[in-house]
Amino acid sequence: MASKAVYSHRDPMLKKRDDFEDMLEERRNSSDLRYALKCYTPVLYKGLTPCKVSELKQMVLQSDQLGYVITQVSKEKGMTSDEVTGEAAAILEEMAQRLQLSTVRFFAFTLSKVFKTLFRSICINEEGLQRLQQAIHNHPVVLLPSHRSYMDFLLMSYILYTYDLALPVIAAGMDFMGMKVVGEMLRMSGAFFIRRSFGGDKLYWAVFSEYVKIMLKNGYAPVEFFLEGTRSRTAKSLTPKLGLLNIVMDPFLKGEVFDISLVPVSISYERTLEEALYARELLGVPKPKESTSGLFKARKILSEDYGSIHVYFGQPVSVRSLAESRVNRSQFNLIPRHIPTRPSEEILSFVNDSAYRLVRAQEENMVLKPWVLLAFVLLQKQAAEEKQGTALDELTEQAVWLRDLSRQYGAFLHWPDHIPPSEVVSSSLSLHRGLVRISEGRVQLALEQVGGQQVPGETRGAITPEEELLNKAVVILSCASYRNQALNVFIRPALLASAIHTAASNRKQEIYNSFSFLRNMFSNEFILCPGATVQDFEEACYLLVKTGTLQINQQEVLITERGHRTLAFLTSVLDPFLQGYQVVCRFLCEQDGLTEKQFIPAVRKFIIKHLLTGRLGYIEVLSSDLQKNALAALIRLGTVQKIKGPESNNYCFNVFPSEARNRGL
C-alpha cells in the first residue's frame, strides 16, 4: 500500500501526480438540500467495533493507562482517586467531540452555499480519495492536512462527507471554544478541543493521549490534526510539532495495532481568506480573539473572488514502513504498556524525522498558481527599488522563465499551457488586484494605495512615516505569503547558490561547508529534515547540474555560461532572510539581557528605525515570524543563551558577540 519513501529527491521531475476534479461543479448543478440529506454510508475500518460517544468516554476513563495516572496523581496530591477520576471526567467532558451526522449535514448545506460564492472551484484528486478509502478500510488512519486557513478543517470534513468517506475527529485548539455556538457546532462536526499548553499536567496529558489513542485504535474515526500545530501566517510550512504525532504512533510502536496510515493532505488556496489579517499579525497587530461576532464581520469577504482551492490527498504513509529497521520495538517489552514512559531518544528522533518527511510530503503536493511566480518577480523588483514598476511583457517573460525553472525543480505548478502567457499573467494580476497596481502597461506592488487598507474611522492626513512603512509592509508581507508557497521548491538550490556566493573558493568541500552552515542556520525557517545535510546538498547539486547551471567534477563546482541568471535568481531568494537574520544578530549584539516578551517589540522598533533611515532594503524583515525563527536558531546554535529569570516563564537572553562573529554572522 504505502510507498516506503515519502518523497524521493533523486529526480523531482519524475514525480507522478493525480489529476484534479472540481467538486463544486456538481454543487452548482444540483440541489444543495438533497446533497445535504443524501444517503451517507462510508466504508469503515475492518476491525471496527462500533461504539457511541458516551461509550468512548467510558473506555478512556476505565483504561489502565488513565487508571495508573489517576492513582499516581491522587497519591501526589493527597486526593481520593474518586476525586481525581472526577477531574479526569471533567477534562474529558471539556475535550470530547460529539460528532453528529445532522450537524455535518447542516454544514454540508451552508458550506455549499458559502464555497460557491467564495471560490471558483474546489479541485480534489479523486484517486487520492480512493487510496484513502482503501487505507481507512485496512488500518486506523491519521489525516494530516496543511494548515493555512481556518477553513481547512471544515473543508476537509466537507470533502470527506461529499465523497462518502468516514468523517474524521479533529484536534482543535481551545481558542475556538470561545465562540460559544460555533464551538459547539464544531464539536458536533467532530472537533475535540485541546488546551494550547498543559506543560506539566500529567492528568490532562493522560486523558488527552488516551482519548486520541482509543479513537484511533478502535478505528472509531480517522483522527485529523495539523502537524504544523497552528496556521502558518507566512504560507511557509512550519516546523512540525511532535506531541500528537508521538501519540498516534504509539499504538503501533507498542504493537496495539498492526499498522497506522498517515495521510498527508495538501490544501492550497489561490487566495487566502486571511491574507491581510496574517500580514497585520506578523507586524504586531495582535491576532483578534476568535469570536462569533468577529466571524460575522467577515461577511464582506463573501463578496470577493478567492479563486480556486486545490486539495491533494497524498500517498498514505505506513507507520510500519517508516519504523522498519529504524525503531527497535522490543524496547517496550519489559515495562507494562499502560505505564507512561518518556519516549527514548531513538523514538523521539524517529518521530521527528517522520514529521519532517510528512511535512515535506505536504509541501510537494501543494499546487502553485502563476501568481506565486509573479510574487517572486514583483518582490525582487520592489527590493531593487525599481520605482516605475515592471513592464507587462518583461513580467511575462520572467514569469515564463521561472515557470520552466520551477517545473524542472519538480514544482506542482498549475499554469494553463493552452492560454497565452500574457493572458495567464493578466488574469492572475486581476485576481490579486488588491496587491498590485497597473498603470501604463507597467506593474508594481500597490504600496502607495494605503487608503484601501485603512481602517475606517482613522483620519487620513495624520500618517506618520512609521505608519506608512507598516502599511507598505502589509502589502509586501501579503505578497510574500504567495511567494513563500514556492520556497520549498527553490530552497535547496537557493542554499547552494548562496553557498557558492559566500564560499571563498569553488572547491566542492568549501561550498559544502558553507551550504551546511547556511542550512543549519535556516533550519527553523524552512523545512529541512534534520541530519539530511548530505542528501540535501546532493539534491541541490543534482538539480543545478541537470538544469545546466553548474558543472561539478571531483573537486570543483563551476558555473556555466547560462547558469548565471539562475544563480542570481536563487541567491536573491534567500537574500531577505539573510538580511533579516543579520539584523536580528546586530540587534542582539547591542543588547545586554532582554526578556522573551520584550524581544519582538524591541527588535521591531530597531528594524523600523533602520528601514526608515534606508540602511535596510527588505521591508519583509519586519515579519515577526522571521525574527522569532532567527532568535530560535541563534539559541539552538548556542550563540544566544536562554536563562530562566526570577519569574517563571520569563527568560533572559545572553549574547556572546564573539561567538556570533566566530560563526560568521
Binding site: G255, E256, F258, N328, R329, S330, N333
Partner: protein, 626 residues
C-alpha cells in the same frame, strides 16, 4: 551394509512380543469406549515399532508419520485418510476438498507429487573414520552406513527439509548410524568419538522442527548419528516415590503405554508423542498438552544422566528440590544435543486418572475467548488442557469432519449451527472455539467442568459439546499428515510457536497473522495465505500461542525461500511485540540468529563457556543453539 551384533535375534523376539500385547490391549480399549481410553483419546489405536533399526520400513522417508497413513483424494475426488491407526483412518472427509480449494485456491488438476523412492545414488558416499570404525566394530555396537539409514536421520520436519526430500534432493547426511543399546554403549561411543575426533549428532524421534538435526555443511569430520531408539526400556518403577527410571530413547506413546500397564502415566503428551523420545524432550525443554496437571518436562524430571566428552554428569540423589547452586539439570535441558547424550531419566509418574472428559466452548469472537482463558488462568482452574482456536482454525476443524453416518447426526449438527449463529447471533466469520480436556476423579472433574463453563459463560461462551472437543484434539495428530497432502497440490506450510505475557496475546496474534498476509503479498505469493493461530497453553503470567501458516505456491520459482522469508518476518514480528523465541520447539539452527538478543551477550557467554568446558573439541557438533 548392516552390521548386526549377537543381540539381534532376541531383539526381534522382543518386538514380536510387544506387537501381540499391544494389539490385544488396543482391542480391549476399543470395546470399552466409555471407560477411560487414553490411547483412543489420542486418536491413534495401534502401536508403533519405531524402535526398529530401519524405521523407514514403516515410516515415510519424505513425509510425516507411518507409511500406511496419509490423506489422499480418491477416484471420486473425495478426501480420505488411509490406514487403520487413527480414528480418522479409512474415513471420507467430504469437506476437505472444498476447504482446500477455497482457502488456498488449490486445484486437484495441479499436482506436485513427491519423488516416490530414495535414489541412493544421489547420496554422497560416507566419509568414514576408519580408526573409529575399527574400534567401534570391536565393541559389538550395531551400526550402518546404508544410504537409507543415513538419509532418514539427516533431517527433522521443517518445511525446507521435507520439501527437499520430496524433490529427491539430499544434502549433507550423517556418514554412519550407530544404535547403542544402553548407557554403557553410549559411554563407549562418546569415548571413541573423542579419541578419533568424530562428530556425534544424537538422534531420538526425528521430529525436530528447528533444523536441529541438519548436518552442518561446513563439518569436515565424519558425522555419526547416534540413534537412541534401542534404549527404550523402563528400568524400574518406584511406587513409593511415584517415579520411574527410563532409558532416554523411549518414544512417548510407548512410555505411556508401558506405564499404563502398571496403572501409571507421566501425563507428558507433546503433540509429537507418537514419535518423539524422552531424551529429545529433555534436550529441547518440551512441553505437553496436559502440563496444567502434570507440568512441563522441567517439572517432571527428577534425575538425568548424560554422557558428555568430559564424562557422565548426574546428581548424587533424587531429592525433590535442592539448593546447590544453579541447577545443573538446566544446562542439560534445552542443550539440544550440543553437550552430550541423555541416556537415562528418572521421571515423576502419576496413577492413571479415573475419568477423562472432553468439552468445548464457542465464543462470539477471539477476544472474548482470550479473556476467558485469562480468567481461567487467574483463578488457576485450568483443566488438563485448554486450547482456543481462532475462526480460521475453527473452520479448518470443521472441514475435517468425517462423513456423518446418520441423518440424525447431521440434523443435530444443523440444529446446533442454527442455534449458535441465528439464535445467539454469533457471526460465523468471527466465532471461535475452545477445546477442553478434564482429567481426574469423576466427581472432581464434573465440579471442575462446571466451574470452567461458568467462567466461560461470563465471556459469552456457549458449551458446544464433547464431540467438538475430542475432534479438536484428534486434529493435533493428523494435521502433520495434512501438510503432505497440501504438498501434493502446491500448498506448503508449517507451524511455529511462541509464548508471551497475557496482555500481549491478542496483539501478537493479530499482528503476526497480518504480517504473514502482508509478507506473502510482498513476496509475490499469488493466493491469499492461510494464517491462523491458537492459544494452546495457559500460565499464571502468560500463554503459549501456535501459528499455522500455509500458502499455494503456484507461480513462485523458489517457494521454500519465500516460505522462509515469511516465517523469518513472522518471528521478527513476534519478537518485536514481546513474544519469546520459542516456547517448546527450541532454537536449533533455524532460530540461532536471535539468541543473542534473546538472552543477552552475557547469557551467550555463560552458555558458551559451559560448552567450551564440557565439549572443547565440539564432538557434539550439530551447531545448534549458539
Amino acid at each position: 551394509g548392516f552390521y548386526a551384533n549377537s543381540s539381534m535375534p532376541s531383539q526381534v523376539t522382543h518386538e514380536l512380543l510387544l506387537i501381540c500385547t499391544c494389539l490385544c490391549s488396543c482391542l480391549s480399549l476399543r470395546s470399552t469406549a466409555h471407560q477411560l481410553c487414553r490411547v483412543q483419546s489420542q486418536g491413534f489405536l495401534t502401536c508403533t515399532y519405531i524402535h526398529f533399526f530401519h524405521r523407514q520400513e514403516i515410516m515415510k522417508w519424505n513425509g510425516w508419520g507411518y507409511s500406511d497413513s496419509k490423506f489422499l483424494y480418491n477416484k471420486k475426488g473425495q478426501a480420505e485418510f488411509t490406514g487403520k491407526r487413527y480414528r480418522l483412518s479409512g474415513m471420507i472427509i467430504p469437506g476437505l476438498r472444498e476447504w482446500m480449494e477455497s482457502t488456498f485456491g488449490a486445484n486437484l488438476q495441479h499436482k506436485t507429487p513427491a519423488a516416490p523412492i530414495l535414489n541412493s545414488s544421489v547420496v554422497q558416499p560416507p566419509t568414514l573414520n576408519e580408526a573409529f570404525l575399527k574400534e567401534l566394530k570391536s565393541t559389538g555396537i550395531p551400526f550402518s552406513h546404508d544410504a537409507e539409514d543415513r538419509v532418514f536421520r539427516s533431517h527433522g520436519h521443517c518445511l525446507h527439509e521435507i520439501f527437499a526430500l520430496r524433490e529427491g534432493k539430499i544434502g549433507r547426511v550423517p556418514d554412519l548410524v550407530v544404535w547403542p543399546n544402553c548407557h554403557n554403549d553410549v559411554v563407549k561411543i562418546v569415548e571413541l568419538a573423542c579419541k578419533h575426533n568424530v562428530c556425534l549428532i544424537p538422534y531420538g524421534g526425528g521430529t525436530s522442527v528447528s533444523s536441529a538435526l541438519e548436518c552442518p555443511p561446513e563439518e569436515t569430520r565424519s558425522i555419526v548419528s547416534l540413534d537412541t531408539s534401542q534404549m527404550n526400556r523402563i528400568l524400574w518403577i518406584d511406587e513409593k516415590n511415584l517415579t520411574a527410571h527410563v532409558e532416554a530413547g523411549i518414544v512417548g506413546q510407548d512410555l505411556e503405554r508401558l506405564l499404563n500397564e502398571s496403572g501409571y502415566c507421566t501425563g507428558h503428551e507433546p503433540d509429537s508423542m507418537e514419535f518423539s523420545s524422552l531424551g529429545g524432550w529433555v534436550a529441547t525443554r518440551a512441553s505437553g498438552m496436559k502440563k496444567n496437571i502434570y507440568g512441563n518436562i522441567e517439572d517432571l524430571v527428577v534425575h538425568i544422566k548424560m554422557v558428555t566428552p568430559r564424562g557422565v554428569i548426574e546428581k548424587s540423589c533424587q531429592g525433590p528440590r535442592m539448593s546447590t547452586g544453579p541447577d545443573v539439570h538446566h544446562f542439560i535441558m534445552g542443550s539440544e544435543g550440543t553437550l552430550g547424550v541423555v541416556t537415562e531419566v528418572t521421571m515423576k509418574i502419576r496413577p492413571m486418572p479415573e475419568y477423562q472428559k472432553y468439552g468445548s466452548v464457542v465464543f462470539p469472537n477471539f477476544e472474548m475467548g482470550v479473556a476467558c482463558l485469562r480468567e481461567v488462568a487467574r483463578q488457576r482452574c485450568a483443566p488438563a488442557s485448554i486450547r482456543l482456536m481462532d475462526n480460521e482454525q475453527f473452520k479448518f476443524g470443521h472441514a475435517l469432519k468425517p462423513q456423518v453416518s446418520s441423518i440424525f447426526t447431521s440434523f443435530l449438527d444443523g440444529l446446533k449451527k442454527f442455534y449458535i449463529t441465528k439464535f445467539k447471533g454469533f457471526d460465523p466469520n468471527r466465532l471461535c472455539v475452545a477445546t477442553l480436556l478434564f482429567e481426574g476423579d469423576r466427581e472432581k472433574v464434573l465440579q471442575h467442568e462446571k466451574q470452567v463453563y461458568d467462567i466461560a459463560a461470563k465471556f459469552g461462551g456457549l458449551a458446544a459439546g464433547e464431540d467438538n472437543g475430542q475432534r479438536g484434539y484428534m486434529l493435533t495428530f493428523v494435521i502433520a499428515y495434512l501438510r503432505d497432502l497440501g504438498m501434493d497440490y502446491y500448498v506448503i506450510g508449517e507451524s511455529f510457536e511462541t509464548s508471551m505475557p497475557w496482555d500481549r496475546v491478542l496483539d501478537i496474534c493479530r499482528n503476526v497473522k497480518a504480517r504473514i498476509v502482508r509478507e506473502c503479498k510482498d513476496k509475490g505469493v499469488q493466493f491469499p495465505p492461510l494464517s491462523t493461530c491458537r492459544v494452546t497453553q495457559t500460565y499464571d503470567a502468560g500463554a503459549c500461542v501456535y501459528f499455522y501458516f500455509a500458502f499455494n505456491y503456484r507461480g513462485l520459482s523458489d517457494p521454500v525461500h519465500v516460505y522462509e522469508q515469511v516465517e523469518h518476518a513472522a518471528r521478527e514480528e513476534i519478537l518485536a511485540n514481546g513474544g519469546s523465541l520459542s516456547h517448546h520447539h527450541g532454537v536449533g539452527k533455524l532460530r540461532k540468529e536471535w539468541m543473542r538478543e534473546t538472552i543477552s551477550s552475557v547469557g551467550m557467554g555463560m552458555l558458551k563457556s559451559v560448552k567450551d568446558y564440557v565439549d572443547p573439541n565440539n564432538i557434539f557438533g550439530n551447531r545448534n543453539l549458539l
